[in-house]
Symmetry: D2
């Protein structure tokens, strides 16, 4: 069975991306334009292009403390090359860190037409199912979310998914004891759905946006880091037994 | 020992990237502007911004046949999530595929001030050391290279590294029996060095540029692929023994 | 918050594994004994030790055609080091390849006490939920399964989980149009549950068993492979458009 | 071009490993016997089998503080599956952590027949080239090394490579201001070369030995960990600027 793709081809040394000559894209289009093209198959409108820029910039980095940054830098510290350290950092984007954009998009997609949001949220709370895209381990309010929603309104992408996301936020906070604001994963998901992306692509946009930040961290570690890292003795505790006989 | 970074911070829910407010970058800057910022620490000039776009677009995808695309898609076909498939594809960017941008940049950096290029190339040929950044497994001429060099000239980034890269090309082809044109890795390396990036960052720019292409391949595999892939029986041969007794 | 572990420690240059002196384990115990120890916290009985050997050996390799072997070798072919190629191959063990051992173990764990297996299987068939641990893309009968079940009976580990797995097989094949034999993932899961392992550990045992096979493939590729691999032109097809104007 | 392998095949549901029936290996051989077989192509002698067990057990784990364990656990803490966390941990085995077994073996292989070791070591010291396989970030004496050397002598594998490794140790410590004992990577390398393994396989044996330890750490993190991990605010410092204007 042949492999099939509609993404790109190379013929006699001439590359096409989604049917467009690569050299012509290089001459006339921005990177985020071509990111949109390669994911969606069409070039973005001016509004789509500006929204993509805001979405990708929103994801670019979020401090050295997050698992993906720490993992990338630890892997770099053991003497690995850039692509190896980058891959390890990307692996740290599990369901609880980065991955929630896809989960939130899947939740919004499947539930948007629900008749009564309060009943839905109540039933999820009862089953102790966490709604993805709300709450943050550290942040109580996320300025990125406010900025994304403002930009989406300005550019005409604050549609039914964004509306739904805010209604869920309201309903959630009516029944939750702790504050559960729409977080960056949820906002990203809602805006991207309103732009016509699907949930897997929502996760993809997050990853495209964050890769430059991880690369900056790895570069900093490689050029200014202290060499091989490991936990200090006072950072861990051994709770197993001792001196067992065989 | 504390971890230290100058890349980004989050304070009271307000993110800074290299000292700039993230929300202000979201409002006013393009993605490639902020890619430049996060890697270099300063915002790009207009010329730097346009050069970055051309460089990143040049890398975005190169057909389904390359190892990174095949690896990503195989990993996706076994039922993995997007970030896992992406990381596996990134791991396929070894020295012979993608990694050469860094090697070429290191070669250009360390040899640029050599007095006699022909002597240098002759001596490498004698020691059978391959010069990174020249030649391609499939392409004899790469339109991306022509386009990048043209853009670099137009924007004022065709400097001493680019000149050196072309002199090496001339010298190489004078002694090589097969054609060894400057390839995309070499062109990327030369232009990025002339812009002030270092060799590790050159590899980083390639990876940032290619990640969207890989994500498009994984998305296509997940949504339109045939399910679990494996080699057909006629695609491999077993050359080991049979029926050995224990 | 401190990291905590009961697995191992190093104190004044003396290592303990689950409380046992490492050097004493090196002197007296086999590798699979210590694999059991590090996973379970106790040394195996003679029967457990022999069962572990059979389980790990069963997983060691399964031809060059599977996704994990192909991915490892592709990554090695681009000029990567062994650990990078190994990690990429491990990433290919998704839900449809290797990962099913954990899914099967979770299914057996959660359903073992079901009152009527035929009702359960009928209801899953109706909802089009695939039962993990049954069927194989290529094999109609798997000699590894027969051998594992025989060994488990001989050593006293053919318990209630194994019985349940066979009852499910019978029930499945009564309603399925294609043959769905208990496969290696299912057999591994059932025997390991009967030995007292949990579902995550079942997947772990598969991975421990298969890593040597992947390393043999990577070594073969590095020492005897053809260099950089890519798809031939007749192995793929481009289905996208051409010559679109910007 | 066909893929070719001498490692394993599956024919009509019957697996062969290096020509031996897999089910027969499952019935009669230990895991480390078959690890030896899959790497080397022949079954081990009794002495080789016992040496393999000691080598693999020596590598099985080395505390929670090393980069590979921390990386694996961080990746698990973000909600990933076992194989993803395992791959990330394996990526942390760079040149300075785990990878040195291969470097040491390459050094021993290429230098063993050197006429004057003191001259060699003096010249490397002058060029500030670190000799791989000596010294340890934490340990001054490594009981695993003593135990491996003792086992190798007992079983007849303390050959010319082991002798060479000890002569290098003597020579190194005559000129070094800090103690540089033969470390586990160096001891592993020397014994494996004396058994007939090559440098890539030496790294492979280390990885095979350590994978069960990593899996135990990931399992512990998944079942007893605190959930999503990140650095505390007092564990890092932001050294970049603030409030820059665009």
């Amino acid at each position: 069975m042949k492999w099939r793709t509609a993404i790109s081809e190379v013929e006699h040394g001439k590359e096409s991306i989604r049917g467009y000559e690569l050299t012509s894209l290089m001459a006339k289009k921005s990177f985020s334009d071509v990111v949109f093209l390669v994911l969606r198959g069409t070039l973005p409108s001016a509004a789509e292009a500006r929204m993509m820029d805001a979405l990708l910039v929103a994801c670019i980095d979020h401090g050295i403390g997050v698992a993906s940054a720490v993992v990338s830098r630890l892997t770099a510290s053991t003497g690995n090359s850039l692509h190896t350290a980058l891959a390890s950092g990307i692996l740290a984007f599990g369901k609880l860190h980065g991955g929630a954009a896809q989960d939130a998009a899947e939740f919004f997609s499947s539930q948007k037409d629900t008749a009564d949001i309060d009943v839905l949220i109540g039933s999820l709370k009862e089953k102790k199912i966490r709604v993805p895209g709300y709450g943050h381990k550290v942040l109580l309010e996320d300025s990125r979310v406010t900025a994304l929603c403002a930009k989406a309104r300005e550019l005409g992408f604050f549609g039914t998914y964004c509306e739904f996301a805010l209604m869920v936020e309201k309903s959630l906070n009516a029944v939750s004891s702790k504050k559960l604001p729409l977080n960056i994963d949820g906002a990203l998901a809602a805006v991207l759905l309103d732009m016509g992306f699907d949930p897997i692509q929502a996760r993809g946009v997050f990853l495209i946006g964050r890769v430059p930040g991880l690369i900056a961290h790895i570069h900093e570690e490689m050029t200014q880091g202290p060499g091989l890292r490991r936990l200090r003795e006072d950072e861990y505790e051994y709770t197993g037994g001792k001196n067992k006989k065989i």
